[in-house]
């Protein structure tokens, strides 16, 4: 009941956004103030086409079977807050407090907050940041950016807690902060449903709560900083359509039903759904584990001699697939001796290196460097509560980022970046 109400509301909002984009006649190039709008235009275009018809039987069967439409229709796609336009090169460079790695964070100018004391300078604001995973480069980078933003403001104290993928622990942490009367809470939830009640309890206690990247089931939540999964899958499809007009595809996907899988894979299928030459040959859920992606790809290579494309929902999957293809010495085993096209998401430094080396063909960035947006948003919510400023919007979209390819390309108005031009990669460097 709760979910359907939420879905209905979001579906209405998204339909309106899509309709506006469609009515705009897909004049993508003309409206391209930034890559965000360009990609949103393409999302609207391919989404609408897929709704009208999906002529590729193999693709449409999978699309129907896994119910991608339900997920895609409720995933927010929209404009950036405060009319922000992101351009490559923007952001700030610093050393991550946790990773100790040099980071260039792309969105530090988004919902900006000047360095120095915030809100009431005579008051100290306590903010809790709870997430999962001090054992994962992506998540450490997320915490890095949150802690960096808090450190820019001398009257902000931040407490960072790793809930270790334990929803109950995350709930308890939030309840503790409510009891301690923290001024604001930012969270990266692992799953939607379990975090709704704790967030609601915090909101009921008058504490602003902002989620980053992933969502909770709370309808009361102050703001949601959302990623760009749709643009990720879309660009994998755009690239593939640009370089191939057909071939057999093996999919390495994340957990069934996860937002990352549903939206990225769904968007990819929408784009290639009307190209009849493609065939889904293998479809594996490798649950973000490189080892499983390695094994499924190794086995698929034995079952099929004519794989043309390895689609990967994440960077871990792409690296696992690449290692398996390399181990089998099958990198150039696509029909006519062509290279197997490897598509990836997540701009880890190791993935970018493989693009430079010509092994992975493209990656659609999904940056973890958004924790700072969450901190700024919650500070502004605290300010709004104290009557010091306007509250930020409830849905804070993060800018869509352009795909990265070995050489510069322009695909349907999207100008790709090369690894050398991309300073925002995360994780440890690979020598």
């Amino acid at each position: 009941m709760f979910s359907s109400t939420r879905r209905a509301a979001l579906r209405g909002t998204i339909s309106a956004v899509v309709l506006m984009a469609v009515q705009g006649g897909f004049t993508v190039a003309a409206q391209a103030e930034g890559v965000h709008d360009t990609l949103n235009g393409l999302i609207a275009k391919y989404s609408e086409q897929a709704k009208q018809e999906m002529s590729n039987k193999s693709v449409s069967e999978l699309f129907e079977k896994d119910g991608f439409r339900d997920y895609l229709d409720v995933y927010p796609v929209g404009e950036l807050a405060e009319g922000f336009v992101w351009k490559p090169g923007m952001g700030a460079t610093f050393t991550g407090p946790y990773s100790k790695l040099e980071i260039k964070s792309p969105f530090t100018d988004y919902i900006p907050l000047a360095e120095g004391p915030v809100l009431d300078p005579n008051k100290t604001y306590k903010i809790g940041f709870v997430f999962h995973g001090f054992n994962h480069p992506w998540l450490i980078s997320l915490a890095d950016t949150a802690a960096w933003e808090a450190a820019r403001h001398p009257n902000v104290e931040i407490e960072v807690i790793d809930a270790e993928f334990d929803d109950n622990k995350m709930g308890q942490v939030i309840d503790t902060w409510v009891a301690k009367k923290y001024d604001g809470i930012v969270l990266w939830p692992s799953r939607e449903a379990p975090m709704g009640p704790p967030v609601d309890r915090a909101i009921d206690a008058g504490i602003p709560v902002v989620s980053v990247d992933r969502r909770t089931s709370s309808e009361k939540i102050s703001s949601e900083v959302l990623g760009n999964f749709y643009a990720n899958g879309l660009q994998e499809g755009l690239y593939l359509k640009e370089v191939l007009q057909g071939g057999n595809i093996v999919l390495n996907r994340k957990d069934l039903g996860s937002t990352a899988d549903s939206i990225r894979t769904g968007a990819f299928l929408e784009v290639i759904g009307n190209v009849d030459g493609f065939n889904i040959q293998g479809n594996y859920h490798t649950n973000s584990q490189r080892q499983l992606a390695f094994q499924s790809t190794a086995d698929a290579l034995q079952a099929f001699n004519d794989i043309s494309v390895s689609f990967n929902t994440g960077g871990e999957e792409a690296m696992g697939a690449l290692d398996a293809i390399r181990e089998a010495k099958r990198l150039n085993s696509a029909p006519d001796g062509k290279k197997i096209v490897i598509l990836a998401n997540d701009d880890a430094k190791e993935v970018l290196k493989e693009i430079t080396d010509g092994n992975i063909d493209m990656v659609s960035p999904y940056t973890p460097l958004i924790g700072d947006i969450g901190i700024r948003a919650v500070i502004k919510h605290i300010g709004a509560k104290e009557g010091l400023n306007e509250a930020p919007p409830k849905l804070i979209m993060t800018p869509n980022l352009p795909m990265i390819t070995k050489t510069k390309m322009t695909i349907e108005g999207v100008e790709t970046m090369t690894p050398d031009e991309w300073p925002y990669a995360y994780g440890p460097a690979v020598n």
Binding site: G133, N135, S296, D299, Q302, M319, E327, P428, N431
Partner: protein, 350 residues
């Protein structure tokens, strides 16, 4: 004058009250003082043969569905896939035979490789690989001491070790992966070959031979089964049960380090969050191999066949495009089907 260890040599010692204790061992293990090992130690037991039959059936089905299933390349894929978990299952089988359990294997594998990863900057393969193996050995010995000397249940102590090792791996690495690609000797463990045989497969075979020798042909094997069959009887027979247990935990630690080494080298990266749930997978292979968690029973040959069964199933299901989730269901069902008759037999004997 009969000596306490005579029965281990001849199986007929009757001094002191040894007969009763030996009878207890026989009772628990099935028929012989050395557990359920057959009269001819060089041959596999009947239970192992039934697993072999299951394996042959699976391979036949695989070859029928996919004519290239038995190709050298596919066999390479299957064997390299199971090499790590197979080696771990050998170590776990030996621990389980003694009546204990080692739930720390995933933590030990992760921490060992992370410690090696921290030394990549030195560029010394000897140091890096040595540190990985030494770490596995030390953690295994600690497990053994906690169980055999301190007297903590292996379920609890190794569970604690799993948590501690995993946490230390994160603390030491700062949660970041390390890349050993430039250390050729390290990468050899995952990507090298020995006379054309991939190193993971060669190591798998070597470890199988060592473990088979230890359990079937050496005095150590008899002590192992005696310890698991009835630890008190074994102790009264003059076996240093504590030393046996420390030895098998140490060996299991080394197996975990070797498995970690193989997998990290195959993937070309050392991940502090690697091997989630590995301990349960290894335990599944061990049980599928015929080891009873009560101790005294089990065989390395059974573990070897069990690892191959799991490898063949996974390969076959992946080739058939069966979903990961359904694969878990099928694998679990196969384990149940294979293990159930053995359980019934043990219940009957009891």
């Amino acid at each position: 004058m009969p000596q306490p260890l005579d029965w281990l040599r001849h199986g007929t010692w009757t001094g002191f009250d040894g007969f009763r204790h030996m009878a207890a061992i026989e009772d628990k293990a099935g028929a012989k003082p050395s557990g359920n090992r057959p009269a001819w130690p060089a041959l596999p037991a009947v239970g192992d043969l039934s697993r072999v039959a299951v394996l042959i059936a699976l391979v036949t089905v695989g070859q029928y569905l996919y004519p290239g299933f038995l190709s050298a390349e596919n066999l390479r894929v299957i064997l390299t896939a199971v090499a790590g978990i197979g080696i771990l299952a050998f170590g776990m089988t030996m621990v389980v035979i003694t009546g204990e359990i080692d739930l720390s294997v995933a933590g030990v594998a992760v921490l060992s490789t992370v410690v090696g990863g921290l030394l990549i900057a030195t560029g010394s393969p000897f140091l890096i690989i040595g540190a990985v193996l030494l770490c596995g050995l030390v953690l295994g010995i600690i497990n053994g001491i906690l169980v055999a000397k301190v007297g903590i249940s292996s379920l609890i102590s190794t569970l604690a070790m799993l948590g501690i090792a995993g946490a230390l791996a994160n603390i030491f690495s700062g949660g970041q992966a390390a890349y050993p690609e430039k250390i050729a000797e390290f990468m050899w463990f995952g990507r090298g070959t020995v006379f054309g045989v991939p190193v993971p497969i060669a190591l798998f075979a070597l470890m199988a031979l060592i473990c088979l020798f230890l359990t079937r042909s050496a005095t150590f094997g008899r002590r192992l089964y005696a310890t698991g069959g009835n630890a008190r009887a074994a102790m009264l027979s003059g076996i240093r049960v504590d030393r046996v247990k420390i030895a098998v935990f140490a060996f299991c630690g080394v197996c975990a380090a070797v498995a970690g080494l193989i997998e990290s080298a195959r993937l070309g990266y050392i991940n502090p969050a690697a091997f989630p749930g590995l301990e349960l997978k290894v335990l599944a292979v061990t049980v599928l191999g015929g080891a009873a968690l009560a101790g005294g029973t089990g065989s390395v040959f059974g573990a070897l066949v069990a690892a191959l069964i799991i490898g063949v199933i996974n390969n076959l299901l992946n080739q058939m495009g069966v979903s990961f989730y359904m694969q878990q269901v099928v694998t679990a069902l196969v384990i149940l089907v294979v293990v159930m008759p053995g359980m019934k037999h043990r219940k009957f004997v009891k």
